[in-house]
Symmetry: C2
Subunit: 196 residues, 2 copies
C-alpha cells in the first residue's frame, strides 16, 4: 500500500453509480449526470446530490426548489454519458439527444421515461461543502419498473437492473449479476458459534 496526503483529483473509491438529475424552471428543462449522491434518511425519505455551483442545473434547482433523480440501465449509457458531457445553457439536451421525458406526478419537473427508477424530490435543505452544493431532496414520489423489483422493500433483481457505474476518465461499466451472493446475519451468527 502506498500513502499520499490528500491529492487534488482522485477516484480511489470509484466505480460509483450515476444518477441523472433533471431540473426545470419556467419552460427550461435541463439534465446532468452526477456521481456524488447518497440516500440520507428513510424517515423522512431524504436523498442528497452534490452539484457544482458552475453547473446550469444548480441555478435551475435554486430557483424551482425541485428536481428528479433518474437511474438508467447500462443499455442507456449513451444518454447518461452525453448529458454529463455538455452544458444545457446553450442547447436543449432532451431534444438534441432525443431523450423521452414524462411529467412528474407530484412536482413540476419531468423524469426520464427510460429510467428503471426515478425519485421526485422537493428541496429540503441546501448546504455548501467546498466546491459543491449538497442539495437534499425529500422524496415525494417514486416511479419504477415493476418487474425489476421484488418484495415489500423493493429489492432490485440484479438480472433486470444493470446500473451505469462511473470509473473516472469518461469510462463506465456495469455489474455482473452472476456474482450475486447472500451474506448476512445468519452467516455471521454461524461464524460466531464456530468461533466461540
Amino acid at each position: 500500500m502506498k500513502f499520499i496526503k490528500a491529492p487534488k483529483k482522485f477516484y480511489f473509491h470509484y466505480p460509483f453509480p450515476v444518477t441523472v438529475v433533471v431540473s426545470k424552471f419556467e419552460d427550461k428543462v435541463n439534465m446532468m449526470s452526477a456521481v456524488w449522491h447518497t440516500q440520507l434518511s428513510f424517515d423522512p425519505p431524504l436523498y442528497g446530490v452534490l452539484i457544482s455551483r458552475k453547473r446550469f442545473s444548480h441555478s435551475l434547482i435554486e430557483k424551482s426548489k425541485q428536481f428528479t433523480l433518474n437511474f438508467l440501465d447500462y443499455e442507456f449509457l449513451e444518454t447518461v454519458a452525453f448529458v454529463g458531457s455538455v452544458s444545457g445553457r446553450e442547447l436543449d439536451k432532451a431534444e438534441v439527444f432525443d431523450i423521452p421525458l414524462k411529467d412528474g406526478r407530484i412536482i413540476d419537473v419531468p423524469i426520464l421515461s427510460e429510467s428503471y427508477a426515478a425519485y421526485e424530490c422537493e428541496l429540503y435543505d441546501e448546504r455548501e461543502y467546498g466546491d459543491h452544493t449538497l442539495f437534499v431532496g425529500k422524496i415525494v414520489g417514486v416511479h419504477y419498473s415493476e418487474d425489476a423489483y421484488y418484495g415489500e422493500k423493493f429489492i432490485p433483481d440484479v438480472y433486470k437492473i444493470r446500473p451505469v457505474l462511473y470509473i473516472g476518465d469518461e469510462k463506465f461499466l456495469t455489474t455482473d449479476p452472476s456474482t450475486e451472493k447472500k451474506y448476512g446475519k445468519k452467516e455471521a451468527e454461524e461464524y460466531l458459534r464456530n468461533w466461540g
Copy 2:
C-alpha cells in the same frame, strides 16, 4: 412504470458500493459497513457518510472526531458483510473476524490492511438528516494499492478493483470488467456534429 408515494423502506437506486467505517476512541476500535456515503468536494477533499444514531460507531466518532473509510475487493466480501451484521458493543470485531488492521498515518484510527483504498478523515461537519447523521470527513491521507490505479488522477483499473456492491436483503454483487466503455466529450461532440 408504476408510481408510489414515498414508501417506508426502499432499494430502488441500489446496488450501491459499500465502505467500511472504522472508528476508535481510547482503546476501543470498531468497524461497520455503510452503503450511504458520497464524496462532497474536491477542494477541500470532503467525504460524507451516514450513520444511524443507534450504532456504536456513531458514539465513537462523536467522541474522537475521526474515522477511516475503507474500500475492499469483492474477495473480502465476508469481512464487509460480517462487520455490517453484528454490533461492536459486545465484541471486538477485528479479533473475532480476524481482520488485519494497520495504524493510520495522520490520525489515531486504524485502516483495514486488506483495503485497495482507505481514507483517513478528520471530522469537518456533522448534520442530522431524519434518522441518520451525516458525518463529513476531511480526507487528510489516502492509502491505496499502487498497481490498481493509473494516471495523475488515480483512475481505477477495473480488472484489479472489483468493489463490493450492496443490493439490499443481505445480498451483494460486483462489477463486470468486460463491460468497460469510454463515452465522453469526444463522442458527444461527434454526435452533435452529425445532429446539426
